[in-house]
Protein backbone atom coordinates (compact mmCIF):
# COMPACT_ATOMS: atom_id res chain seq x y z
CA UNK A 1 0.00 0.00 0.00
CA UNK A 2 1.05 3.58 -0.46
CA UNK A 3 0.20 6.76 1.34
CA UNK A 4 1.35 10.31 2.02
CA UNK A 5 1.42 12.68 4.95
CA UNK A 6 1.83 16.45 5.09
CA UNK A 7 1.74 18.19 8.45
CA UNK A 8 3.51 20.35 10.94
CA UNK A 9 4.38 18.44 14.10
CA UNK A 10 4.05 20.43 17.30
CA UNK A 11 7.21 22.59 17.70
CA UNK A 12 8.46 21.09 14.44
CA UNK A 13 9.01 22.17 10.85
CA UNK A 14 6.84 21.08 7.92
CA UNK A 15 7.03 17.32 7.33
CA UNK A 16 6.08 15.60 4.09
CA UNK A 17 6.28 11.84 3.94
CA UNK A 18 5.51 9.22 1.30
CA UNK A 19 5.50 5.59 2.35
CA UNK A 20 4.94 2.28 0.62
CA UNK A 21 4.47 -0.76 2.85
CA UNK A 22 3.49 -4.39 2.65
CA UNK A 23 2.54 -6.84 5.42
CA UNK A 24 3.37 -4.20 8.02
CA UNK A 25 6.89 -3.63 6.66
CA UNK A 26 8.24 -0.51 4.97
CA UNK A 27 9.07 -1.06 1.32
CA UNK A 28 10.04 2.53 0.53
CA UNK A 29 9.91 5.82 2.39
CA UNK A 30 10.66 9.44 1.56
CA UNK A 31 10.94 12.00 4.38
CA UNK A 32 11.00 15.60 3.19
CA UNK A 33 10.62 19.05 4.66
CA UNK A 34 12.30 22.21 5.89
CA UNK A 35 13.93 20.58 8.90
CA UNK A 36 17.67 20.39 9.56
CA UNK A 37 19.81 17.30 10.13
CA UNK A 38 23.56 17.16 10.64
CA UNK A 39 25.32 15.47 8.95
CA UNK A 40 22.86 15.57 6.06
CA UNK A 41 24.17 12.53 4.17
CA UNK A 42 23.98 10.41 7.32
CA UNK A 43 20.28 11.30 7.50
CA UNK A 44 19.94 10.04 3.91
CA UNK A 45 21.53 6.75 4.99
CA UNK A 46 19.32 6.40 8.07
CA UNK A 47 16.25 7.06 5.93
CA UNK A 48 17.33 4.42 3.39
CA UNK A 49 17.88 1.95 6.25
CA UNK A 50 14.16 2.14 7.11
CA UNK A 51 13.31 -0.17 4.21
CA UNK A 52 12.26 -3.45 5.81
CA UNK A 53 11.43 -1.90 9.21
CA UNK A 54 8.11 -2.62 10.87
CA UNK A 55 5.81 0.32 10.27
CA UNK A 56 4.53 0.05 13.85
CA UNK A 57 8.09 0.50 15.15
CA UNK A 58 9.22 3.11 12.64
CA UNK A 59 9.88 5.89 15.15
CA UNK A 60 12.07 3.68 17.32
CA UNK A 61 13.92 2.19 14.37
CA UNK A 62 14.58 5.64 12.90
CA UNK A 63 15.87 6.88 16.24
CA UNK A 64 18.33 3.96 16.39
CA UNK A 65 19.46 4.46 12.79
CA UNK A 66 20.02 8.20 13.34
CA UNK A 67 21.77 7.65 16.63
CA UNK A 68 24.07 4.99 15.14
CA UNK A 69 25.22 7.58 12.59
CA UNK A 70 25.50 10.49 15.03
CA UNK A 71 22.74 12.51 13.34
CA UNK A 72 21.32 15.54 15.14
CA UNK A 73 17.84 16.70 14.10
CA UNK A 74 16.24 20.15 14.38
CA UNK A 75 12.59 20.71 13.63
CA UNK A 76 11.84 16.99 13.35
CA UNK A 77 11.94 14.03 15.71
CA UNK A 78 11.84 10.28 15.09
CA UNK A 79 8.55 10.31 17.04
CA UNK A 80 7.11 12.70 14.40
CA UNK A 81 8.12 10.25 11.68
CA UNK A 82 6.54 7.32 13.55
CA UNK A 83 3.35 9.31 14.09
CA UNK A 84 3.21 10.32 10.42
CA UNK A 85 3.57 6.65 9.43
CA UNK A 86 0.71 5.71 11.76
CA UNK A 87 -1.44 8.47 10.26
CA UNK A 88 -0.70 7.19 6.76
CA UNK A 89 -1.70 3.64 7.70
CA UNK A 90 -4.89 4.77 9.43
CA UNK A 91 -5.74 6.92 6.41
CA UNK A 92 -5.20 4.00 4.06
CA UNK A 93 -7.58 1.79 6.06
CA UNK A 94 -10.12 4.56 6.59
CA UNK A 95 -9.97 6.57 3.37
CA UNK A 96 -12.58 9.01 4.70
CA UNK A 97 -10.07 10.15 7.35
CA UNK A 98 -7.58 11.08 4.66
CA UNK A 99 -3.86 10.69 5.30
Amino acid sequence: MKGSYVGKPSRGKLLRMDMEWEDGLVVQISIRGDFFAHPENAFDEAEAALAGARVAELGDVFERELSARGVTLFGLTPVDVGAAAATIVVGAHNPDNGA
Binding site: G33, F36, H38, P39, F74, G75
Partner: protein
Protein backbone atom coordinates in the same frame (compact mmCIF):
# COMPACT_ATOMS: atom_id res chain seq x y z
CA UNK B 1 45.40 41.81 10.17
CA UNK B 2 41.87 40.79 11.14
CA UNK B 3 40.79 37.24 11.76
CA UNK B 4 38.27 37.17 8.90
CA UNK B 5 38.83 37.16 5.18
CA UNK B 6 36.16 39.26 3.47
CA UNK B 7 34.80 38.48 -0.01
CA UNK B 8 32.15 40.46 -1.84
CA UNK B 9 31.29 38.71 -5.07
CA UNK B 10 28.27 40.61 -6.38
CA UNK B 11 25.40 38.98 -8.23
CA UNK B 12 25.82 35.58 -9.88
CA UNK B 13 23.76 32.61 -10.99
CA UNK B 14 22.45 30.24 -8.35
CA UNK B 15 24.67 27.26 -9.17
CA UNK B 16 27.81 29.39 -9.01
CA UNK B 17 26.73 31.00 -5.74
CA UNK B 18 26.23 27.63 -4.10
CA UNK B 19 29.39 26.26 -5.75
CA UNK B 20 31.46 29.12 -4.36
CA UNK B 21 30.08 28.62 -0.85
CA UNK B 22 31.16 24.97 -1.13
CA UNK B 23 34.57 25.95 -2.53
CA UNK B 24 35.17 28.36 0.36
CA UNK B 25 34.10 25.63 2.80
CA UNK B 26 36.74 23.37 1.26
CA UNK B 27 39.49 25.97 1.38
CA UNK B 28 38.82 26.81 5.03
CA UNK B 29 38.65 23.07 5.79
CA UNK B 30 42.04 22.45 4.17
CA UNK B 31 43.61 25.40 5.94
CA UNK B 32 44.25 27.19 2.63
CA UNK B 33 42.00 30.04 3.75
CA UNK B 34 41.15 31.55 7.09
CA UNK B 35 37.61 32.06 8.40
CA UNK B 36 35.69 33.81 5.66
CA UNK B 37 32.73 36.12 5.30
CA UNK B 38 31.21 36.44 1.83
CA UNK B 39 28.48 38.86 0.71
CA UNK B 40 26.65 38.24 -2.55
CA UNK B 41 23.45 38.46 -4.57
CA UNK B 42 21.61 36.46 -7.24
CA UNK B 43 21.22 37.14 -10.95
CA UNK B 44 18.93 35.89 -12.32
CA UNK B 45 16.50 35.59 -9.42
CA UNK B 46 16.46 32.09 -8.00
CA UNK B 47 14.71 29.67 -5.71
CA UNK B 48 16.97 27.78 -3.36
CA UNK B 49 15.64 24.63 -1.76
CA UNK B 50 16.57 23.14 1.57
CA UNK B 51 18.60 19.93 1.38
CA UNK B 52 15.65 17.82 2.55
CA UNK B 53 12.88 19.43 0.55
CA UNK B 54 11.17 17.88 -2.45
CA UNK B 55 11.67 20.07 -5.50
CA UNK B 56 8.26 19.26 -6.92
CA UNK B 57 6.67 19.83 -3.51
CA UNK B 58 7.99 23.35 -3.22
CA UNK B 59 8.67 24.84 -6.64
CA UNK B 60 6.51 25.58 -9.67
CA UNK B 61 9.14 24.51 -12.19
CA UNK B 62 7.11 25.66 -15.19
CA UNK B 63 6.71 29.14 -13.71
CA UNK B 64 10.44 29.30 -12.95
CA UNK B 65 11.30 28.28 -16.50
CA UNK B 66 8.88 30.82 -17.96
CA UNK B 67 10.24 33.63 -15.78
CA UNK B 68 13.91 32.66 -16.10
CA UNK B 69 14.22 31.93 -12.37
CA UNK B 70 17.03 29.53 -11.40
CA UNK B 71 16.31 26.59 -9.12
CA UNK B 72 19.05 25.17 -6.91
CA UNK B 73 19.23 22.73 -4.00
CA UNK B 74 21.39 23.93 -1.12
CA UNK B 75 23.90 21.99 0.96
CA UNK B 76 21.96 23.21 3.99
CA UNK B 77 18.55 22.26 5.35
CA UNK B 78 15.70 24.66 5.98
CA UNK B 79 13.02 26.02 3.70
CA UNK B 80 12.71 27.19 0.11
CA UNK B 81 13.76 30.80 -0.46
CA UNK B 82 12.99 33.11 -3.37
CA UNK B 83 16.14 35.16 -3.92
CA UNK B 84 15.52 38.44 -5.71
CA UNK B 85 15.94 41.80 -3.98
CA UNK B 86 18.21 40.73 -1.17
CA UNK B 87 21.68 40.56 0.26
CA UNK B 88 23.01 37.09 0.98
CA UNK B 89 25.95 36.24 3.21
CA UNK B 90 27.94 33.13 3.98
CA UNK B 91 30.26 32.53 6.89
CA UNK B 92 32.73 29.65 7.04
CA UNK B 93 34.69 28.90 10.21
CA UNK B 94 36.36 25.82 11.70
CA UNK B 95 34.19 24.13 14.32
CA UNK B 96 36.85 25.07 16.88
CA UNK B 97 36.20 28.78 16.20
CA UNK B 98 34.37 30.73 18.95
CA UNK B 99 31.50 31.47 16.53
CA UNK B 100 30.89 27.73 16.10
CA UNK B 101 31.05 26.81 19.77
CA UNK B 102 28.20 26.14 22.18
CA UNK B 103 26.09 23.97 19.92
CA UNK B 104 23.92 24.64 16.92
CA UNK B 105 21.58 27.19 18.53
CA UNK B 106 24.39 29.24 20.04
CA UNK B 107 26.35 29.25 16.78
CA UNK B 108 23.27 30.51 14.90
CA UNK B 109 22.91 33.23 17.53
CA UNK B 110 26.61 34.21 17.34
CA UNK B 111 26.74 34.43 13.54
CA UNK B 112 23.35 36.12 13.27
CA UNK B 113 24.76 38.85 15.52
CA UNK B 114 26.62 40.04 12.42
CA UNK B 115 23.38 40.24 10.44
CA UNK B 116 21.65 42.08 13.27
CA UNK B 117 24.56 44.54 13.48
CA UNK B 118 24.36 45.11 9.72
CA UNK B 119 20.64 45.82 9.97
CA UNK B 120 21.36 48.22 12.83
CA UNK B 121 23.82 50.05 10.54
CA UNK B 122 20.92 50.56 8.14
CA UNK B 123 18.69 51.79 10.97
CA UNK B 124 16.65 48.60 11.42
CA UNK B 125 16.39 47.16 14.93
CA UNK B 126 16.16 43.39 14.77
CA UNK B 127 16.40 40.37 17.04
CA UNK B 128 17.44 36.75 16.72
CA UNK B 129 14.44 34.39 16.70
CA UNK B 130 15.55 30.79 17.34
CA UNK B 131 16.27 28.55 15.66
CA UNK B 132 17.33 30.33 12.51
CA UNK B 133 15.41 33.55 11.86
CA UNK B 134 15.92 37.26 12.44
CA UNK B 135 12.86 39.41 13.03
CA UNK B 136 12.02 43.09 13.26
CA UNK B 137 8.79 44.22 14.88
CA UNK B 138 7.79 40.57 15.03
CA UNK B 139 8.21 40.01 11.29
CA UNK B 140 10.84 37.86 9.61
CA UNK B 141 13.56 39.78 7.76
CA UNK B 142 16.21 37.11 7.45
CA UNK B 143 16.40 33.31 7.26
CA UNK B 144 19.61 31.42 7.95
CA UNK B 145 20.84 27.86 7.50
CA UNK B 146 23.98 26.00 8.42
CA UNK B 147 25.79 22.76 7.80
CA UNK B 148 28.88 21.26 9.35
CA UNK B 149 31.27 19.23 7.23
CA UNK B 150 34.82 17.98 7.72
CA UNK B 151 35.29 19.99 10.91
CA UNK B 152 34.02 23.28 9.47
CA UNK B 153 30.76 25.18 9.71
CA UNK B 154 29.08 26.93 6.78
CA UNK B 155 26.20 29.26 7.54
CA UNK B 156 24.48 31.23 4.86
CA UNK B 157 21.46 33.44 5.04
CA UNK B 158 19.45 36.13 3.38
CA UNK B 159 18.45 39.66 4.25
CA UNK B 160 15.31 40.78 2.44
CA UNK B 161 15.96 44.25 1.07
CA UNK B 162 12.57 44.21 -0.61
CA UNK B 163 9.98 41.51 -1.13
CA UNK B 164 7.62 40.85 -4.03
CA UNK B 165 5.10 38.41 -2.59
CA UNK B 166 3.26 37.98 -5.88
CA UNK B 167 6.46 36.87 -7.61
CA UNK B 168 7.37 34.70 -4.61
CA UNK B 169 4.05 32.87 -4.75
CA UNK B 170 4.27 32.46 -8.50
CA UNK B 171 7.47 30.43 -8.26
CA UNK B 172 6.88 28.71 -4.92
CA UNK B 173 4.10 26.16 -4.86
CA UNK B 174 1.06 26.80 -2.75
CA UNK B 175 -1.39 24.02 -1.94
CA UNK B 176 -4.18 25.42 -4.07
CA UNK B 177 -5.25 28.50 -5.95
CA UNK B 178 -8.04 28.91 -3.43
CA UNK B 179 -5.50 29.32 -0.65
CA UNK B 180 -3.22 31.68 -2.55
CA UNK B 181 -4.89 34.89 -1.34
CA UNK B 182 -5.01 33.74 2.27
CA UNK B 183 -1.40 32.55 2.18
CA UNK B 184 -0.19 35.84 0.76
CA UNK B 185 -2.10 37.68 3.48
CA UNK B 186 -0.59 35.40 6.16
CA UNK B 187 2.93 35.81 4.83
CA UNK B 188 2.45 39.57 4.47
CA UNK B 189 1.66 39.61 8.18
CA UNK B 190 4.76 37.60 9.06
CA UNK B 191 7.42 38.73 6.57
CA UNK B 192 9.00 42.13 6.27
CA UNK B 193 11.91 43.71 4.40
CA UNK B 194 14.42 46.46 4.96
CA UNK B 195 12.41 48.60 2.55
CA UNK B 196 9.21 48.07 4.54
CA UNK B 197 10.95 48.82 7.82
CA UNK B 198 12.70 51.97 6.63
CA UNK B 199 10.18 53.23 4.09
CA UNK B 200 12.89 53.62 1.46
CA UNK B 201 14.71 51.43 -1.04
CA UNK B 202 18.16 50.20 -0.06
CA UNK B 203 20.27 49.20 -3.06
CA UNK B 204 22.49 46.13 -2.73
CA UNK B 205 25.62 48.32 -2.83
CA UNK B 206 24.45 50.36 0.15
CA UNK B 207 23.54 47.20 2.04
CA UNK B 208 27.00 45.77 1.38
CA UNK B 209 28.65 48.75 3.10
CA UNK B 210 26.34 48.40 6.12
CA UNK B 211 26.83 44.65 6.46
CA UNK B 212 30.59 44.93 6.01
CA UNK B 213 30.55 47.27 9.04
CA UNK B 214 28.08 45.16 10.98
CA UNK B 215 29.85 41.84 10.50
CA UNK B 216 33.18 43.57 11.12
CA UNK B 217 31.94 44.89 14.48
CA UNK B 218 30.39 41.55 15.49
CA UNK B 219 33.34 39.40 14.35
CA UNK B 220 36.19 41.54 15.67
CA UNK B 221 37.19 43.04 12.32
CA UNK B 222 37.45 41.98 8.69
CA UNK B 223 40.39 42.06 6.30
CA UNK B 224 40.15 44.41 3.36
CA UNK B 225 37.79 43.19 0.69
CA UNK B 226 39.38 40.65 -1.60
CA UNK B 227 38.40 38.17 -4.30
CA UNK B 228 38.12 34.39 -4.12
CA UNK B 229 41.35 32.65 -5.12
CA UNK B 230 41.67 31.24 -8.66
CA UNK B 231 41.48 27.76 -7.09
CA UNK B 232 38.23 28.63 -5.34
CA UNK B 233 36.76 30.08 -8.53
CA UNK B 234 37.59 27.01 -10.59
CA UNK B 235 36.33 24.75 -7.80
CA UNK B 236 33.10 26.80 -7.67
CA UNK B 237 32.63 26.30 -11.42
CA UNK B 238 33.21 22.57 -11.01
CA UNK B 239 30.72 22.27 -8.16
CA UNK B 240 28.22 24.35 -10.12
CA UNK B 241 28.46 22.04 -13.12
CA UNK B 242 28.86 18.72 -11.34
CA UNK B 243 26.48 19.17 -8.45
CA UNK B 244 24.32 22.25 -8.40
CA UNK B 245 23.23 22.16 -12.06
CA UNK B 246 22.82 18.38 -12.13
CA UNK B 247 19.35 16.88 -12.22
CA UNK B 248 20.51 14.13 -9.87
CA UNK B 249 21.17 16.76 -7.19
CA UNK B 250 18.23 19.07 -7.89
CA UNK B 251 15.76 16.20 -8.06
CA UNK B 252 17.40 14.25 -5.23
CA UNK B 253 14.13 14.62 -3.32
Amino acid sequence: MAEFRYLETGAARASFNMGLDEAVLESVTSGAAKPTLRLYAWKPAAVSLGYFQGVRDEVDLDACAALGVDVVRRLTGGGAVYHADELTYSVVVPESHPLARGGILESYRSICAGVIAGLEELGVRAQFAPLNDIVSNGKKLSGNAQTRKHGCLLQHGTVLLGVDLDAMFTVLRVPSEKLRGKLIADVRARVSSVRSELGRTIPYEEAVVAFERGFGAAFGGLDDKTSPTPEELSSADLHAADRFESEAWTFKR
